[in-house]
C-alpha cells in the first residue's frame, strides 16, 4: 500500500505521475503534492494515473480538492491513464462529468 509520486514541472503544464494506491494511508501525501500545484495560476495540471490500480473514497476526495483549487486559480485539472476499475469509480460518483478524464493510454508527453 504505497504511492509513488513523480513530478514533471513545466511553464504551462505540470504533470504528476502516480503509481501504487491512492487510499486513506497515502491520500495526505498526494494532497501535499497536488494542492500547491493546483493553486498555481493559469496552469494545466495533468495527473497520470496509469500506474494506479486502486483509489478509495478518501483518495477521490483529494482529486475533488485539487479540482476546486484549480477552479479558484483559473487552472485546469486533467486525469489521464485511468484503468477500468478506477474509471468506473469516477463514473459511479459522477465525477467524470466535472473532471476532464481520459481513460487508458491517452497519456500525453509533457
Amino acid at each position: 500500500m504505497n504511492l509513488d509520486i513523480q513530478l514533471q514541472e513545466g511553464p504551462q503544464r505540470n504533470v504528476v505521475l502516480l503509481s501504487g494506491e491512492v487510499d486513506v494511508y497515502t491520500a495526505s501525501k498526494l494532497k501535499e503534492t497536488l494542492n500547491p500545484l493546483a493553486e498555481q495560476e493559469n496552469k494545466e495540471l495533468v495527473v497520470d494515473l496509469s500506474g494506479i490500480n486502486y483509489i478509495d473514497s478518501t483518495g477521490l476526495g483529494i482529486f475533488i480538492g485539487a479540482l476546486k483549487a484549480t477552479e479558484k486559480s483559473n487552472s485546469t485539472l486533467k486525469l489521464i491513464g485511468l484503468n477500468e476499475r478506477v474509471k468506473k469509480l469516477f463514473e459511479i460518483t459522477g465525477l467524470n462529468e466535472v473532471i476532464d478524464i481520459q481513460a487508458n493510454d491517452a497519456r500525453e508527453e509533457a
Binding site: S57, I64, I92, G94
Partner: protein
C-alpha cells in the same frame, strides 16, 4: 510539595530500613505499593533514584565515594525514562478524555438515527449500520407518511471517524428541514447538495441514494448522488437488477440536478440500499464483488428483511475476522401486499 517529599522520605526510609534489617517479602511488597503512590504523586524515576540515594546515605553513613558517585550515572540514565514516563502519562490522560468524549458523541450520533421500526402491513423493512470505529460516517433514514409512502436513504460520507460523523449529522439535520421533498428524490438531493457544498471541506464529499415506495402505484422512486448502486430483486423472474442512477456526489459543485428514476415493485420484490463499506469488504485481500453480495442476499431472501441484513453483516464480518475496515450499512425494503 515539600511536605509530600518529606513524608515520602520518611516512608522510604522506614521501608528500606525494614528491608535491610530482615529482608522480608513483606517489605518488598511494600515497595510495590510505594511505587504506585509515587506514580500517583507524579514522582519521576530519577526522583526515586535520588530519594533512594539520600535515604541510603543517611542509613549507611560510611558509603564509599564510588558507590555514591555511581548513582549519578544511574540518575542520568533514569532521566530519559522519566521523560518517556511523563509523556506516557500525559498521553494516557488525553486518551482517556478523548475516549469519554467519543463515547458521548457516539451516543449522540446514534440518537440521530430513526429508532422506531416501520410498522406497516404493506412493507417489510430491515436495516443494519455498524461503524468501523466508534463514530460512523454512514447515515440511513427511513420514514413513512400518512399515505404510507415509505422513504429510505443511505448516505456515505467519505472517510470515517469524527470528520465523517460530523458531516453525517449535517445530512440528518438537512433532511429534517426538507419534509416536503420526501416525495421528490431528485429535488431532495439537489437541496442537500447545496447544504453540503457550503459546509464541507474541499476534499470531502458525500454519496447518497434516496428513494420512496409509493403504495398507490407500487413503484419505487429514487435518485442517486454518486452512490454505490443498490439492487432490486424481482421475485417473479428471480432476478436482481442494479438500481442504477447517475448523479454527482454531494458537495462538489453548487448547482447540480439529479434525475428521478422509478422501478415497479411487485409483491415480494425488494430493494436493497448499501454503503460502500459493504462492497469494500476485503476477504482474503480481495474485494468482495457485487455478485457475491447478491448471492448472499439470494441465500437468505426467504427470511424477513431484518434477518437478511443481520445475517449478511454477520457473514461478512466473520469473513473479515471481525475487523470492519469501513462503516457498513445495508437496508432492505420489501413490498408485502
Amino acid at each position: 510539595m515539600e511536605d509530600t517529599q518529606l513524608s515520602m522520605y520518611q516512608l522510604y526510609k522506614e521501608m528500606l530500613t525494614k528491608y535491610l534489617d530482615n529482608k522480608s517479602e513483606h517489605a518488598l511488597y511494600h515497595a510495590q505499593q510505594f511505587s504506585k503512590q509515587m506514580m500517583e504523586k507524579d514522582m519521576s524515576p530519577e526522583e526515586t533514584v535520588s530519594l533512594h540515594m539520600s535515604v541510603f546515605q543517611e542509613i549507611a553513613e560510611d558509603l564509599s565515594e564510588e558507590v555514591v558517585d555511581s548513582f549519578d550515572i544511574l540518575l542520568e540514565v533514569m532521566i530519559g525514562y522519566g521523560l518517556a514516563y511523563r509523556e506516557h502519562q500525559s498521553l494516557r490522560d488525553k486518551q482517556r478524555q478523548l475516549d469519554s468524549e467519543l463515547t458521548v458523541a457516539a451516543r449522540m450520533q446514534k440518537s440521530l438515527l430513526p429508532s422506531e421500526k416501520i410498522a406497516l402491513d404493506s412493507v417489510d423493512f430491515g436495516v443494519i449500520s455498524v461503524p468501523a470505529g466508534k463514530m460512523s460516517g454512514d447515515y440511513y433514514h427511513y420514514a413513512h407518511d400518512e399515505h404510507k409512502n415509505v422513504g429510505v436513504a443511505v448516505a456515505d460520507v467519505i472517510g470515517k471517524g469524527i470528520p465523517a460523523a460530523m458531516s453525517m449529522s449535517m445530512i440528518k439535520y438537512a433532511m429534517d428541514t426538507l419534509p416536503e421533498q420526501r416525495l421528490q428524490p431528485g429535488a431532495l438531493l439537489e437541496n442537500l447538495n447545496r447544504v453540503v457544498e457550503r459546509n464541507i471541506d474541499d476534499d470531502m464529499f458525500i454519496t447518497m441514494m434516496y428513494g420512496f415506495y409509493d403504495p398507490r402505484n407500487y413503484r419505487f422512486n429514487y435518485a442517486s448522488a454518486g452512490h454505490e448502486p443498490g439492487f432490486i430483486y424481482h421475485e417473479e423472474s428471480d432476478k436482481f437488477e442494479n438500481l442504477d442512477g447517475r448523479g454527482l456526489v454531494l458537495g462538489v459543485s453548487k448547482n447540480v440536478t439529479y434525475r428521478d428514476y422509478e422501478v415497479a415493485m411487485n409483491v415480494g420484490d425488494f430493494v436493497v440500499l448499501l454503503s460502500d463499506g459493504v462492497t469494500e469488504c476485503r476477504v482474503d485481500g480481495e474485494f468482495i464483488e457485487r455478485d457475491q453480495i447478491i448471492q448472499m442476499i439470494r441465500d437468505y431472501k426467504h427470511m424477513p428483511a431484518q434477518k437478511i441484513v443481520d445475517r449478511i453483516f454477520y457473514d461478512l464480518e466473520r469473513a473479515q475476522e471481525f475487523q470492519l475496515r469501513d462503516d457498513f450499512t445495508l437496508l432492505i425494503l420489501r413490498r408485502k401486499v
